[in-house]
Amino acid sequence: MGVKQLGIVGQSVKRRDGIGHVTGQTQYVDDVFYTGMLWLKMVRSPISRGIIHGIDASKAEAFPGVVAVVTAKDVPNNWYTILCLIGVEPNDEPVLAHEEVMYMGEPICAIVAETEAIAAEAAALVKLDIEELPPVLDMEFAISPDAPVIKKWGNNTFMYDGYNHRKLRFGDFEKAIQQADHVIEGDYSLSPIEHAPIETHCCVVKPEPDGRLTVHSNTQALYFTMDNTAIILQVPSQRLHMIGGTVGGGFGGKVDVITEPITCIAAMKTGRPVKWRWTREEEMRKSSTRAGVKMHYTDGVMNDGRIIARKVRSLEDAGAYHRHSPYGVQKHMANLPGPYTIPNVWVDAYCVYTNRQPSSAMRGFGVTEATFAVECQMERIARTIGMDSWEIRLINAYRNGQMRPVRKVVEDATLIETIQAAAELIGYELPAHLKAMSSDDYGGKGGHHG
């Protein structure tokens, strides 16, 4: 292949943190303890949708060992819109709910106590007066005219430049589908899943004598977490000193800035170090999931196997709030046509809100879902028109120099080479004309490897 040999790059040197890991000496956030450290537990909504009429924390406040109760009025800027830094608006998620609840498990108030057990016991004493409303859980229902509108801007989808979905338009789908020898449709869906890192969310905040806060965090993104926390606290970012960089598994589940702002507020309010670590049940039932997604494909295919038209409608279940979903749907949209050259493409991708725990980033965000649908659809096409599974992919695979539906010219393509290598790996002999194919066999341009 002619890849230049380098020195230390390309060698399987041992992990720098490996000995710490295998001897248990690596320090994770939950291993941080300070003298006088308090513990935090969250009071959460027991229902999926409702109007808050009252929060009575008096019994919890009076409980021996409780040091503070943190409610919405303690949060200087009670908006949790982590993508505000890249222009996603409007604000839609309170840090602590005070007017309405939008999902089962939504944070309402935090109990800060001398021990974790006391905090948990006191949290159970908070009396919530919430008027229950029927939840919207199904995406198709959510975007139908019959659904109650759960978002303040007047519908149940994210609005992209005035549209209730992201569009991808390339060529002329309607014309091409008329000319196809076969019209092949498929439905694909995924249920929400949990990241399930073995280390749960954890944050420890220590107020320093100079007024700064030392924040031990297992976030995947320290500056992103620092800046979003500062916006919520309404303090300059320089007041925060983020320490992290060692994470017990993330998989996209630890970019939500979900523990740091409240733990900081608790530390500021009490003047003492505070730890908030999530239970496994909170990870499962309250932390962001991968989104549930439903996709419908309509493909126009010729007898020789060429896909000439592809239309996709996709609904992605953001749950109750934005989190990272408006971004994820855009990434999803760009990947829904798949790594194939299809001259006529039509995609509508919706970011839909429901009364479910918010979804957010997870390993493969938006792409995993698209890839699953595309590759099952490719197989369905092969089976429908009676073509070999390898051939259908190889003849349609994008080549360097071709135009993708997002109107970026393909470069760095090696789909064909991996298909050929996989066939070889399992000892499957591809016919000569398929073996001869290459990602650089289109017009002789675009490729930088031959």
Binding site: M1, V3, L6, I8, V9, G10, R16, D17, S48, M104, L137, Y160, K167, F170, S189, S191, E194, A196, T219, A221, L222, I243, G244, G245, V247, G250, F251, R280, E281, M284, M333, A334, N335, V347, R356, R363, G364, F365, V367, T368, F372, E375, C376, M378, E379, R383, R393, A397, V406, R407, K408, D412, T414, T418, A421, A422, E424, L425, I426, H449
Partner: protein
């Protein structure tokens, strides 16, 4: 009633970096008086091995021994901005920033060395911490001596600043036209399964994959991602959901007692080959590999189930219940 064998394939691509770009990362490097190099990053290692591969990239770019490079991650007081570890971006973005910083530090080092050696900096070769004049290997010194001289004789800093930013692309709301990625990695997975038509259970026998990742910085760690993804993808395909009756909330999981992920008893035979076609913009040609490894197994397994028993179960996870219902539906159709 029988067990049916099936084989399915899936070929996938995966974008490197945040969709549309606009996600910078910075690095600072400074040289200590005795020639150690400290790389200051606010990046995070989730277990994929960033701390190690960045040390490899820095040592390669600086031309110094691996052990003389210290990588300090995870402190916003001591290191400049990093967007974070996600979107298969860390090795690509951080690696590029580190190479840029290393080039600046290396140049500062060689300028001092040139003065010390009375040679032109462009005539100097720096390899594994040793410095010599091109064509005259007897005229030599090393990083230790030059670093000491820089600090205590010349009053010069040996340090470097690096940043990598893919400018944020616009997106046309009418057509979706945009530049979504820095590069694309690719993979093909072949899944072999056994489907029990009596219980609906699917056993994955084998996942064999070819991955193209640009350039491997640390092949064992690339393999670590491939095996990791194979198992997570299998799990996603067959086992996982927090809402077993989605969109209903019933039986919402709350522990590993109901939320089933694979154990050491559940893993199939996993094989892989790795191809290297260096990308034009990655550090030494890197493409992101962290996320994609969990993608290709999913459709490969679903396609293998179709191959085995002739039914499409395209609502994940493919539980035994769904397989049995699909088989029953088909038998009703054919009778």
């Amino acid at each position: 009633m029988a067990k049916h064998y099936g084989r399915g394939i899936a070929a996938v691509n995966y974008p490197t970096g945040m969709n549309l770009g606009g996600d910078p990362t910075q690095a600072l490097i400074f040289c200590q008086p005795t020639g150690g190099f400290s790389v200051k990053l606010a990046s995070t290692d989730l277990g994929q091995g960033l701390k190690t591969v960045i040390a490899q990239i820095a040592a390669e770019a600086l031309g110094v021994p691996f052990d003389s490079v210290i990588v300090d991650t995870g402190d916003t007081d001591s290191a400049p901005h990093c967007m974070g570890t996600f979107a298969s971006r860390a090795t690509h973005r951080v690696g590029n920033a580190v190479i840029m910083a290393a080039n600046e530090a290396r140049k500062a080092l060689l300028d001092v060395a040139a003065e010390e050696m009375e040679a032109a900096p462009e005539d100097l070769v720096l390899e594994n911490g040793e410095i010599y004049v091109k064509g005259a290997p007897e005229r030599k010194t090393n990083v230790f001596n030059v670093a000491l001289a820089a600090h205590f004789k010349h009053g010069k800093t040996i340090s470097g600043r690096g940043i990598y930013l893919k400018q944020k692309s616009g997106l046309d709301p009418e057509t979706g036209a945009c530049d979504p990625d820095s590069t694309e990695a690719h993979a093909t997975t072949v899944a072999e399964v056994e489907v029990d038509d009596e219980t609906g259970e699917v056993k994955v026998l084998r996942l064999a994959s070819a991955y193209e990742v640009g350039r491997q910085i640390n092949p064992e760690m690339v393999k670590g991602q491939i095996v990791s993804g194979a198992v997570m993808g299998m799990s996603h395909a067959l086992m996982e959901t927090v809402f077993p009756y989605y969109p209903a909330l019933d039986h919402h999981t709350y522990s590993f007692g109901e939320y089933i992920i694979p154990t050491a008893l559940d893993i199939p035979e996993i094989e892989s080959v790795v191809l290297e076609y260096p990308s034009s913009n990655g550090p030494y040609g890197v493409k992101g590999v962290g996320e994609m490894t969990a993608n290709s197994p999913i459709p490969a397994i679903v396609n293998a189930i179709y191959d085995a028993v002739g039914v499409w179960v395209t609502d994940l996870p493919v539980t035994p219940e769904k397989v049995l219902r699909a088989l029953e539906e088909r038998s009703l159709e054919t009778h």
